[in-house]
Structures are given as C-alpha cells and as structure tokens.
C-alpha cells in the first residue's frame, strides 16, 4: 500500500496535527513502511473469529448516577494555558 500526499494531508487534518509541506513527504515515506508491516494481517482468514477487546471479556461496570468527586475547579484550571473567572479561554468561535 502506498499513501498519496493528499491522503497524508487528510489524516493529519483529521488528527488535528499541522503538517508542513516539507514534513508531509517524509511522513508519507515512514507511514508507507508502517502500513507495509500492518498489511500482513490481510493474508489471514479470520472469518467467524470474534474480535477481542479485553482479555477477560468483562463488561463495563455500572455505578449509581451520583456525584462522587468534590469541586476542584481551581486546582484543575491552574494547569490550563489560559483560564479566567472559572472559564477556559479559546479563540473566538462564534462571530
């Protein structure tokens, strides 16, 4: 399999990672190598094999819909790049 530069750009956009045109080509070459390795999977017939997502095949535990954590807003916002008056600041999204 060989990715096109357009595909690499599209993946980077989906992943929200800025990729300069200079990086895109080198990235494409590396990804091609990795997908070459991954493609070995396709040679195996897995008809009827149940996908495995957890070794013990456990189901998610449920809990009561009650508050279990205290308010630590200040501690958590202290590590934010920009916060003010209890709000996270981001560039304007609504004109």
């Amino acid at each position: 399999m060989s990715l096109t530069l357009e595909q690499v750009d599209r993946i980077a956009r989906l992943a929200r990672i800025e990729l300069t045109p200079a990086d895109a080509d080198a990235t494409r070459a590396k990804l091609d190598g990795i997908f070459g390795l991954i493609e070995q999977m396709q040679a195996v017939d897995t008809t009827g094999v149940a996908p495995m997502s957890h070794p013990q095949d456990v189901v998610q535990r449920l809990r009561a819909d009650t508050v279990t954590e205290g308010d630590r807003r200040e501690a958590f916002q202290a590590v934010a790049p920009e916060a003010e008056a209890g709000l996270y600041l981001v560039p304007r999204v609504i004109e």
Binding site: A15, R16, T27, I34, M52, R63, V79, V90, V93
Partner: protein, 482 residues
C-alpha cells in the same frame, strides 16, 4: 547503600540501623552524581523526598509506620504525582504539575514509600529505546553508548545503576520487560486489570499495565503487593480478593513444566542471547523443572495487530491534548482549529505523531473493519494460542528481546526495524497475560540478557517464585555495571 535490595533496606530501617533521612540523603547524592551521565531522571524531588523521609522516621519511631516506610522509589514520569512535574517525556506536558496522584502513587505513598523523583521515558511510552524523549535519550549504565530499552528506560537505569532499589514502570508492548532485560534487572508486567490505570497517562488503554522494576523478584513481589488491587476509578480494574504475590517465592520447582515456544527460538534470535537463555533454562532444569516444546503459531501476527490496536487507541487517548485544559499551547494562531493543530504539532514528537496518524487512518470511515476489527480478531487468535499452550505447561519461557542492548541511534530513524524488535513481548500484552523478565547472563560483549517467563492469567505469584528460585541459584541479578 547502593545496590541493596528493598527487602534488606526494609529490615535495616525496621531495626533502626539506618534512618530514612540517611537513606534518602544518600540516594539523592547518588542521583546528583550519576544522573548527568545517565539521564535517568527528568525530575528529582529533593524537598518532597526529605520531608517524606522525616515523616517515615517519625512513624517508625512511633510504631505507626507502613510496610514500605522510608524506602526510596522512583516513578515513571507518566504516573501523575500531585504537586510534582509529570511530563510523560513530552514537550506537550513539559510544565504540567499534576493536581492529583495516580492510584499506584497514592497506594505506595500510603505504604510509606518515599518517591525521590520521576524517571525518563519514551514520549507517551511510545518506543523501545528511550530515545523518543523530549528530555533526551537515557544511557545504558553497562555501556553508555547503548540504549537502555524502553519505554520505562529511566526506571530500569535508575535501578540498574543503583540509584534507587526499585521503580514503577508501565508495559503496553514490553515497556517493563524489555528495559529490565537490557539493563540486567527484574521487572514484571501483571495480568491486565490488576493494577489500576487511574492517573497513569493513557497510551493504549486495552494494553497498558503498571508494574514494578527492581533488582530481585522478591522486591518486585513486595512492591506489587502495594501496587495491585481493585480501584473503582479504573473501569477495567478487576474486582478480586487481595493476594500476597510473595506467597510462592519458596515453592520448589520440582514438577514445574516450562513450555518453550519454538517460534521464540527461531531465526532472528541472536546466538549469544540464545546461549544465555538456554543456560538459564538449564539452571531451572537443575532445580527440578522440566521443559517441553510448545507452539504459538500466530506469534508473527502480534506485530501488525499491535501496531494497529495501540496506535488506534493512542489516537483516541491523545485527542485530549488540545492546548485548552492543560499542556502546551502554541504562541500564534488565527482561529481555534489552527490553535489545536499547531499546539499538537509543536507539543508531540515525531514517533507520537506517526502513531496518532496511523491510528487516525485505521479508525477512519471505511477502514475500521479492515484494520481495527481485523487486528482484534488476530488478538483473539494470539490469546487462544496461549490458552492452548498453557494446557501443556505451567509457565512459558523464552527470550525478552532478539538481541542485547544496541548502540544509540542505530534504529532511531527506522520505526519498522524498531517495531520488529518487540516480537517476543507484544503477544503477552495482546493476550493480557502476566510476563516477567529476570537476568539470564550476558551477551558476547558483556551486556545483560533477560529470560522472559509468561504465566497464565493471575499467575504472577508463580512467575515471581520461579524467578526467585533461579535468582537463589545464580548471581546474574547481583552483577552491577562498572
């Protein structure tokens, strides 16, 4: 006090032959002297460690001390530590001071252990050499021109160089066992689900598991006793009765059947690693164990399956780093989308970005079944291989890595070569089984080699017991670099 075990230091503290302040002061001095050459630590918490040591001394005097009171340990820098820098080896978190403790951190703290700092690692635990750290490569103390393995390379080096008697690590595809092997120490990745992932910065959630690295199997058992246990804050934490992981340390090996997978001894295994592993197996036979050839026919599929599942889960987990709530934010941007994309481009290193891109692709519309579901089906085949094999033997043994430690830079620009070196460790994570690495002698060049022991689900105590008996009969684990 260098190179003493946790168990020995624990006795000396209990008998008041040393104080925790003396022990921690000595530990900090050794780190200060040796860390510049090894780069094993990202953060040294001198003030916090000395304060904790004084508290431990007071508790020891008052008779209220916890079982690990006053003992120095270090945490891999992906365990969140309240009030202490937690970087995950990344520029993204280079100035992140965690507002809370990981479950493992709070458990060890409650038992009285003193954390002296945070160890270096491959960025977000993605790597097998510790060269993928924003804070620079870690050096192998046996030969500082060589890699220590990864991703828990800083923890392995801190123990191997005698800076601390034990450290925490995490293992998603071999990240405890492989650096333990390459540095000549002991490390165990427990069964998936017995150590809480709460506060462990996530890489691949269905594979990530925390565990200890130490000089001996006995010390690993001691530490695991305090790391394991049910935690409702981790939705995959298993609700099981507490157990003593040291309970089988003195169990004789007579009658033990050790399975040797033929796929682990084929082409690609370096001759000197093979010889060392076979010598260790001969020791186990002398102790009464028998060996039987087994087969894990889908071993070769572990690499492609892992390199789909882990990047897929990573791309989802790492989407939280958006430059809004924590972590790096780029200086200049024109709108929100550019702020995300630029912050992530600047904050993540090359290998992390590659894995996010691979993961994004395999999860994208139209590809999910062909990649992610296919990989999960292979995962089932790999787990079934082990299930079948473990009906013919009690534990499985083989090499940890195909070679001893390789020169820094050798694979740094070739991700595929690097991925192939994970061949003997990945399947254990995919199956969710416990795996351990114990020293098994040395390569032609005098570098440590590890023996891997793989057990059935929840068989950690037995693995630690086999390793302990081997360590009682050999001195490989006692050899130190330099």
């Amino acid at each position: 006090m260098s190179n003493q075990t946790l168990t020995s230091l624990q006795q000396q503290l209990a008998r008041r032959q040393i104080s925790s302040r003396e022990l921690i002061t000595d530990t900090l001095a050794r780190i200060e002297a040796q860390n510049p050459a090894l780069n094993a630590f990202i953060t040294v918490d001198r003030a916090g460690a000395l304060a904790a040591a004084d508290a431990a001394d007071a508790a020891l005097a008052a008779g209220t001390a916890g079982p690990l009171a006053g003992l120095p340990i270090a945490h891999k820098d992906l365990f969140c530590t309240e009030g202490v820098l937690t970087t995950c080896g990344s520029r993204m978190l280079a100035s992140f001071t965690s507002p809370y403790d990981a479950h493992v951190v709070s458990q060890l703290k409650a038992a009285g252990a003193v954390s002296v700092g945070k160890t270096n690692m491959d960025e977000f635990a993605m790597g097998s050499t510790n060269e993928n750290s924003h804070f620079g490569a870690v050096k192998n103390p046996w030969d500082v021109t060589r890699v220590p393995g990864g991703s828990s390379g800083g923890s392995a080096v801190a123990v191997a160089a005698g800076l601390v008697p034990a450290a925490t690590g995490t293992d998603t595809g071999g990240s405890i066992r492989q650096p333990a092997a390459l540095c000549g120490i002991t490390g165990i990745k427990p069964t998936y689900g017995i150590v809480s992932r709460y506060g462990m910065i996530a890489y691949a959630s269905s594979l990530d598991q925390g565990g200890p690295l130490a000089r001996t199997a006995e010390d690993c058992a001691l530490l695991l006793n305090h790391m394991a246990g049910f935690d409702r804050r981790d939705s995959t934490s298993l609700e099981r009765a507490p157990e003593d992981y040291a309970r089988h340390l003195d169990l004789p090996l007579a009658g033990l059947r050790i399975g040797l997978p033929r796929e682990y001894f084929g082409d690609g295994l370096a001759d000197d690693v093979r010889t060392a592993v076979e010598t260790a197996l001969a020791e186990l036979r002398k102790l009464g164990a028998s060996t039987v050839e087994i087969s894990l026919p889908n071993t070769h599929l572990a690499i492609p399956a892992y390199y789909v599942i882990a990047p897929a889960e990573a791309s989802s987990n790492l989407s939280r780093f958006d430059g809004v709530r924590y972590g790096h934010r780029a200086a200049g941007y024109k709108d929100l989308a550019e702020m995300y994309a630029r912050s992530r481009a600047e904050g993540f290193g090359a290998e992390v970005k590659r894995r996010i891109l691979v993961g994004t692709y395999v999860l994208s519309h139209g590809y999910y079944d062909a990649y992610y579901i296919k990989a999960q089906q292979l995962r089932r085949l790999i787990a079934d291989d082990f299930r079948q094999a473990l009906t013919q033997c009690d534990v499985i043994a083989g090499p940890v890595a195909p070679t001893a430690a390789w020169p820094l830079g050798q694979m740094a620009d070739d991700p595929v070569q690097m991925y192939l070196a994970d061949i003997y460790t990945l399947a254990v994570n995919l199956a969710g089984l416990p795996g351990l690495s114990t020293p098994a002698g040395f390569s032609r060049e005098g570098l440590p080699v590890g023996l891997q022991l793989i057990g059935n689900y929840f068989d950690e105590a037995r693995l630690l017991g086999v390793a302990h008996r081997l360590q009682q009969a050999t001195d490989w684990h006692l050899r130190t670099p330099g």
